[in-house]
């Protein structure tokens, strides 16, 4: 311990290597880790100090230290079933979106990876390009397509398929369409990166051993692309749980999403402790998927080098 202190105080540790590590590390600690601690801290702020939620939790009165922690916000969330319903509903929409992205994205990435190498780059560019154009504007575009006087309804009316406009906007349907649309490239890209690297000799071997293409696909291709499937699914699932912009523009009153609740607690009700408590629970909810994502990221970096 003493040795460590001397080591620290004499700045002998301050080599180039430490500076190179220290700069990004310090930055991340300050703007990523410390803010979470503050959120947690404010979520348990006392009512009396609600006007000043940044006041100290720890107070010294007559030499006795008291730690005031207020769990009222958490109790309120636990008692009001609307919060539980909203968390569940956010998870449900995120899972449905992830599955649909996988359903559309897997065959897409598969066929893209099996395309001729000369056109592969173009195909890839075409997936990336919407990703580069504004996310907000692309979601807004769906509003124009799905509105009751929108493009799709006009088309169906003109074709005579329907007689009165369908209510498509502000429904679970429009919410899921918007989320699938926005997050599909996040599913396709890791899947493609994985499938394009796959050794075709495995597939040939399976065929030589008498496996049908369908069987080969399920027994060889899919298991080999497991890490791509996990990466893509986490890249879609985790941000979808807390999505705000899409539910706000395309969702309706029945599509409960926790991102919107957080936003309203913060911007409309100005209840910062409550918004913080909602956030803390949301973080707990995505902790496991985040850990899975992290493990995958580590493997990518370690294995690829």
């Amino acid at each position: 311990m003493k040795k460590f202190l001397i080591h620290m105080l004499t700045l002998r540790w301050l080599s180039g290597r430490h500076i190179v590590i220290g700069i990004p590390y310090g930055w991340l600690l300050l703007v990523f880790l410390v803010p979470f601690l503050i959120v947690f801290r404010i979520s348990v702020a006392d009512v009396q100090s609600a006007a000043d939620p940044f006041g100290s939790l720890l107070s010294y009165v007559d030499g006795v230290a008291t730690l005031k922690i207020k769990l009222a916000n958490y109790l309120f969330i636990a008692q009001d079933s609307l919060y539980a319903l909203t968390y569940l509903s956010s998870l449900k929409y995120a899972v449905v979106t992830t599955l649909l992205c996988l359903l559309i994205g897997y065959p897409f990435a598969y066929f893209m990876a099996r395309a001729r190498p000369t056109i592969r780059t173009t195909l890839l560019m075409l997936v990336m390009l919407p990703f580069w154009t504004s996310f907000l504007l692309r979601i807004y575009a769906w509003k124009g397509i799905l509105a009751s006087n929108g493009l799709l309804n006009n088309l169906l009316l003109w074709l005579g398929v329907i007689e009165t406009p369908l209510a498509l906007l502000h429904t679970p349907f429009s919410l899921v369409i918007g989320m699938v649309y926005a997050y599909l490239p996040f599913m396709i890209l890791p899947l493609y990166a994985n499938l394009v690297k796959m050794d075709v000799r495995f597939l040939e071997a399976a065929a030589d051993l008498g496996s049908t293409p369908w069987k080969t696909f399920w027994l060889v291709t899919v298991p080999l692309s497991k890490s791509g499937i996990i990466a893509g699914s986490m890249l879609v699932l985790i941000p979808c749980v807390g999505e705000f912009v899409i539910p706000e523009l395309l969702g309706g009153p029945e599509t409960l999403m926790i991102g919107r609740v957080l936003w309203d607690e913060f911007f409309s009700n100005n209840d910062w402790p409550m918004a913080s408590a909602v956030t803390v629970i949301m973080i707990l909810l995505i902790l496991l998927p985040m850990a899975i994502f992290n493990k995958y990221q580590n493997k990518q970096q370690g294995g690829g080098a």
Binding site: Y25, F54, M128, S134
Partner: protein, 287 residues
Amino acid sequence: MKGRIKGRIDGYRWFGRSWLSATYLFLYIPIVVLIVFSFNSSRQSMEWSGFSLQWYASLMDDAEIISGFVLSLKIAVLTAFASVILGTFAAFVLNRYRRFAGRTLFNSMVSAPLVMPEVIIGLSLLLLMVSMQRLLGFPERGLFTIWIAHSLLGMAYATVVVQSRLREMDKSLEEAAMDLGCKPHQIFFLVTLPNITPALLSAWLLTFTLSLDDVVLSAFLSGPGSSTMPIVIFSRARLGLDPRVNAIATLTILAVSIGVLASSLYIARAERQRQKQIVAATRNVSQ
């Protein structure tokens, strides 16, 4: 027998092509719709009533949009530089320093913003800024705070881009420089940096567009009078359809397409030249 296999392969091809085309249609139809209806003369935006440029003209007198655009542009340029610098540091650390205390934590902190819902990052960063302001009287909410938030997000993306480039890079170049007596910082600036320039450029562009597009972080961290363009667009899109938004969309899409096309051509050319130089260099050595 042969005919049956051929039929099956044709069927497979046909299925593959239709799957790809259908998905591309899904990805591009909304964009085409946005562009087409920006030229619509009617305010009832989804009914075509003739070609008009009035929405583009009205953008010119839209003070809210123009000031939002200027602010967004400033933040995006600052963000792109900060993200590329921080991302290069982080990528270098992750790629070169296999073992150091707290590597796991560092790794998770770098990649977490890639997937973390933006509302969480936005709220927690705002609370940090407010706490700091109470303690130090700094910073005011506005350009600076939005810049910090965007740089946190941008750094995560820049790290991924730069890191994949560092991984592909030929380590023997750096080893050669070291054998020839270069100091670590000389190796970095003279050997590593020129080699990863294309990645730095694409990371710059990616983080620039990310920043230009962000709504949630900006909304949490903006103060009075510092509405970025996406905040203005978002508040209008919330109210309903607005053909001026389509006009902005068309201009953005045009600018982005030109930017992406030009930079990918440039990167491809730089890459070819580098390969040529490597081939030439190895030829000289072997002769």
